[in-house]
């Protein structure tokens, strides 16, 4: 059986499960059956995709007699698709495992169960599609399935609006993709990817395709300023679905971008790289600043996804710039870094969403300022989440650091670029990336510190309990993957080599042959990094320190109340909250970016009213870009409202007039 056939069978199985779920979703065993079966199917798909990626058997194709008449639906599994299938199905498998436990707490399982396998099948199909028609159809199927999952808890405040904004943005994105593929297919209208790849595209069309892809795939991935739906929709779904949407679906969008810009369009040219670099760096910094200002745990994670998408796009932009100038090694480095960061992000973002789900389950709270002290009550969850926080903050020896390190190495290759625009731009982009990385660390100190450390700020947090075994296993597997990808990055980089070879015609040097499995992007004299040894050194020196201390120092230990400057019985509300923790950063960056203002109402002495602090934040993207559009649409629809109430005669004359005008336009045009 060919590799792609195996994947299609997995898809069919997932769709079958979706149908089965409709039938049995009201019975008690439905959760176990559906998530268990999805887990099994995803595991098989991962194995198949890994074999396709590492086996080097080349692309395998399949044509199904469905879809457009005489055309059929084409599916193809090549190295690029295989890599993204690994990401999709690892995410799907871990989410199913988590769902085995988490799903039991769902108040309305029949609203989630049928759409969960359908959503996975949709993502699967997008990655496999080999003609524009199937691609768009599957893309829309994926969007609708995820929309249904966003609306699963439709009665909760804000979710209906989230679903509405998501639907509008997703339709807009699909429209952009439709136009992009229309341009690519050209007047001959051959929708197969093979034909598009072979065709010559004029620079004018290529520019338009870039813009449309940035609108279509970029809106799904969450590029600023098209990100507004993401922090609304991702947190609204149940937590394992949030993990899939944030950790995996954004990767499918990145897949679409890579497929079109690198594979179908061929050489995108360096100005395209400059545009992508610019948007990516803005996205990275804006995303993490939004996250820093946020106190809703799941929304914060969604904003942090925007940051990571920005990092991936910066790396892709670098790859485009290098590729356009024929710098093969540097292009392969930047491209591999982008893929590795996408993989890493799917690991730690899923882990963090699972952790947020566990907290939500145990306390019923998403607001960090009502949590605290969970490290005592949920020891395993808090450990796994700590690993995720360290990994996402790009700290060694975890995986987030490796991909960011590779991107910095790619930035350092850029003095070779001949264009002055890029020469000036790339260092500034590097500075923005460094800023985003430092802000990410600050943001996750806040997230972890306020949620898990300190004293509980509410009774719900005081009475929290550890989550079930399945959820814990899912979290710990992802935590282990974060560490493994961090200490053995050479293996992951080598696994990505077929993708780089397929897309760019070049690859990074083989890393597995380096001594001690260190990674060397270009040459050892330039730079190298060895996560394994860094971890060994840290472990060895901390063990040595612990040994010496426990051998020679005093063992005495006393528990006592914390030092509170004389106020020994301060309430837990006096602790630093997420808002107060973010205050210095809000003052430094917020005044510029969010027009942030603090208003303090201080009652006069003797007055017993409490003092009040009100914080004003303005989302400039929303108020400057979306609000005017929404106003214009509202205005126009009010004006056109009259058209609804015409007599039949007037309608007919309107239709006639339109027809005549169109025919006239056509006559003049040609």
């Amino acid at each position: 059986m060919s590799a792609v056939a195996l994947q299609m069978i997995c898809v069919a199985a997932l769709l079958g499960l979706a149908v089965l779920a409709i039938a049995i979703s009201r019975s008690k065993i439905s959760t176990a059956v559906i998530y268990g079966a999805t887990l099994a199917v995803s595991a098989i798909a991962v194995a198949g995709a890994l074999r396709g990626l590492l086996g080097g058997a080349g692309a395998s194709t399949l044509t199904l007699p469905v879809g457009l008449p005489w055309l059929g639906a084409h599916f193809r599994l090549d190295a690029l698709a295989a890599f993204f299938l690994v990401v999709v199905n690892l995410g799907g498998a871990s989410a199913s495992l988590y769902g085995l436990g988490y799903g039991h707490h769902d108040p309305a399982p029949h609203r989630v169960l049928p759409f969960f396998p359908a959503f996975l099948a949709g993502m699967h199909l997008v990655v496999l599609a080999d003609d524009a028609f199937s691609y768009l159809l599957c893309w829309e199927f994926m969007s609708l399935a995820s929309w249904a999952l966003v609306m699963a808890h439709h009665r909760e405040p804000g979710n209906a609006r989230a679903g509405y904004v998501y639907l509008v943005m997703a339709s807009f994105g699909t429209l952009a993709l439709l136009l992009a593929f229309g341009l690519l297919a050209g007047p001959a209208g051959d929708y197969g990817f093979a034909a598009i790849r072979a065709a010559q595209h004029t620079p004018y069309a290529a520019t338009l395709v870039l813009v449309l892809m940035l609108l279509g795939a970029g809106s799904k991935a969450g590029l600023v300023p098209l990100h507004v739906w993401l922090p609304l929709a991702h947190p609204a779904a149940p937590s394992h679905v949030s993990a899939l949407m944030s950790g995996v679906m954004t990767k499918v969008a990145i897949y679409g971008f890579i497929r079109v810009m690198f594979d179908l369009l061929g050489q995108p040219g360096w100005p395209a790289g400059a545009v992508v670099l610019f948007l990516g760096s803005i996205t990275a910094v804006m995303g993490i600043l939004y996250a820093m200002m946020e106190k809703d745990l799941k929304r914060l994670l969604a904003y942090s996804t925007i940051e990571n998408i920005g990092i991936v796009f910066v790396s892709l932009g670098l790859a485009m710039a290098f590729q356009a100038n024929g710098l093969k090694a540097a292009a392969a480095l930047a491209f591999t870094a982008a893929l590795l960061h996408a993989l890493n992000h799917s690991f730690f973002k899923s882990l963090l969403f699972f952790g947020a789900g566990a907290v939500l389950n145990a306390t019923g709270e998403r607001n960090m300022d009502k949590l605290g002290g969970l490290i005592h009550r949920m020891p395993f969850t808090s450990f796994a989440v700590l690993v995720g926080c360290v990994a996402i903050s790009a700290l060694p020896p975890f995986n987030g650091f490796v991909s960011e390190w590779l991107i910095f190495q790619a930035v350092l290759q850029s003095p070779e670029l001949p264009q002055w625009t890029l020469k000036i731009m790339v260092p500034a982009v590097g500075a923005m990336l460094a800023l985003a990385a430092a802000l990410a660390a600050a943001c996750f100190v806040k997230t972890y510190g306020v949620t898990f450390l300190g004293r509980p700020r509410s009774t719900a947090a005081e009475e929290a309990h550890e989550v079930d075994r399945f959820s814990l296993v899912a979290m710990f597997i992802l935590a282990a993957l974060c560490l493994l990808a961090g200490i053995l990055p050479g293996l992951a980089i080598d696994a990505l080599a077929p993708v780089a070879t397929q897309i760019l015609g070049g690859r990074m040097p083989a890393q597995a042959v380096q001594p001690w499995l260190s990674i060397v992007p270009i040459a050892e004299s330039r730079s190298s990094y060895n996560g394994l040894l860094v971890m060994v050194f840290i472990t060895a020196s901390s063990s040595l320190a612990v040994y010496v201390i426990h051998r020679f120092a005093s063992h005495a230990l006393r528990r006592g109340p914390a030092w509170g400057c004389g106020f020994t019985d301060a309430t837990p509300a006096a602790q630093y909250s997420s808002v107060s923790f973010a205050q210095p950063i809000r003052r430094v960056f917020g005044t510029l970016v969010f027009h942030a203002r603090d208003h303090v109402t201080m009652p006069p002495p003797g007055d017993l009213r409490p003092a009040r602090l009100r914080i004003e934040l303005h989302d400039l993207v929303w108020s400057r870009m979306y609000a005017p559009i929404a106003d214009a649409v509202g205005f126009l629809s009010m004006r056109l409202n009259r058209l609804q109430f015409l007599t039949i005669r007037r309608y007919l004359s309107l239709v006639f007039a339109t027809l005549v005008t169109l025919l006239l336009v056509l006559a003049i045009w040609t």
Binding site: F444, A553, G560
Partner: protein
């Protein structure tokens, strides 16, 4: 034979930083006291402080978790590994290729990450204020530091610290605008990272202006000893970094024999003494600034780093 001497150099280096770190801090304190016309404590006082702290009991807050107890060791280990990768008296360290300058910055970042978490663990406002201000300073200092790294990497064609130092010591680089900017920026970052005046005051306790000390306020006994030791090491690390990159004179090049190692060690001690004196002089001559002036201070470092990097992107000879 080569491997053995490599291991010896690396081992000596790791021990040397441990032994010298408290001395440097004690020396800076002594010079500061003398400049203020005080007698000051002995230069060996930090060693005594450490030993005294080790003998004391640990008082843990009721609410402290395991994270609070492991943080001192993680922090110390991360800083020590970072310090071991900075050449002090000789280049060509054995584990040079394990981690480059970017990784060293990130290792220091890990240490700070855990310290800031520990500051929030007990759940008092003091820890929170310290952590929150520490990460605010770090969000500006870290990018500035990375831009300095870019600057150095572009001049030397490598991010491996030992290679950079070897290159700058052995070939004629000359005076460069970009390196000058990087030096000033690195000095500013080092001041901020080590919680020195004018960014923070290492000598205050229980004042609302403090940052680092507020964060570790709940620590006592052996835990505090580890954190203090980590702080001493970090100061030594930054001084060594500035010395080996910008003033690599007499640093022993790889495989040049025992005599040059001895000369290198002597030169290193002289450099430390000079740097410590200059630091003390600078600290007595300036006043601490308000917390919200710090972003401007570090913003200047960030811009200097960016300008230096841009100059190098424009032309390698700046």
């Amino acid at each position: 034979m080569d491997v053995i001497s490599d291991i010896i150099v690396q081992g000596v280096q790791m021990l040397l930083v441990l032994l010298l770190a408290p001395l440097l801090t004690g020396y800076v304190r002594k010079v500061k006291a003398r400049l203020l016309r005080r007698q000051g404590a002995s230069v060996f006082q930090p060693y005594r402080d450490l030993l005294r702290l080790l003998r004391k009991e640990v008082v843990l807050a009721d609410n402290a978790s395991w994270l609070f107890r492991v943080t001192p060791y993680i922090t110390f280990a991360a800083v020590w590994v970072a310090a071991a990768l900075v050449p002090t008296f000789a280049t060509g360290l054995l584990f040079n290729w394990t981690a480059d300058l970017i990784a060293i910055v990130a290792l220091l970042g890990s240490a700070r990450f855990f310290l800031a978490l520990a500051g929030m663990d007990v759940g008092t406002s003091f820890g929170g204020i310290g952590s929150s201000r520490e990460v605010m300073i770090a969000t500006l200092a870290e990018p500035a530091m990375l831009l300095i790294v870019f600057c150095l990497a572009l001049v030397a064609g490598s991010t491996q610290l030992s290679t950079v130092s070897h290159f700058l010591a052995s070939s004629y680089v000359g005076l460069r605008v970009s390196l000058g900017m990087a030096l000033v920026a690195l000095f500013m970052v080092a001041i901020a990272e080590n919680a020195r005046i004018p960014v923070d005051n290492p000598a205050t306790h229980l004042e609302l202006t403090m940052v680092h000390e507020a964060m570790i306020l709940e620590y006592s006994g052996r835990h505090l000893a580890m954190i203090e030791f980590g702080a001493y090491l970090k100061l030594l690390l930054y001084v060594s970094l500035i010395a080996c990159v910008f003033f690599p004179w007499q640093i022993a090049l790889y495989g040049t024999g025992a005599l040059s190692y001895a000369i290198g060690a002597g030169a290193y001690i002289v450099k430390l003494a000079l740097a410590g004196f200059l630091l003390a002089l600078f600290e007595t001559a300036t006043a601490k600034m308000r917390v919200f002036r710090v972003p401007q201070f570090l913003g200047a470092a960030f811009m200097l780093g960016l300008l230096g990097t841009l100059l190098l992107f424009v032309s390698r000879s700046f």
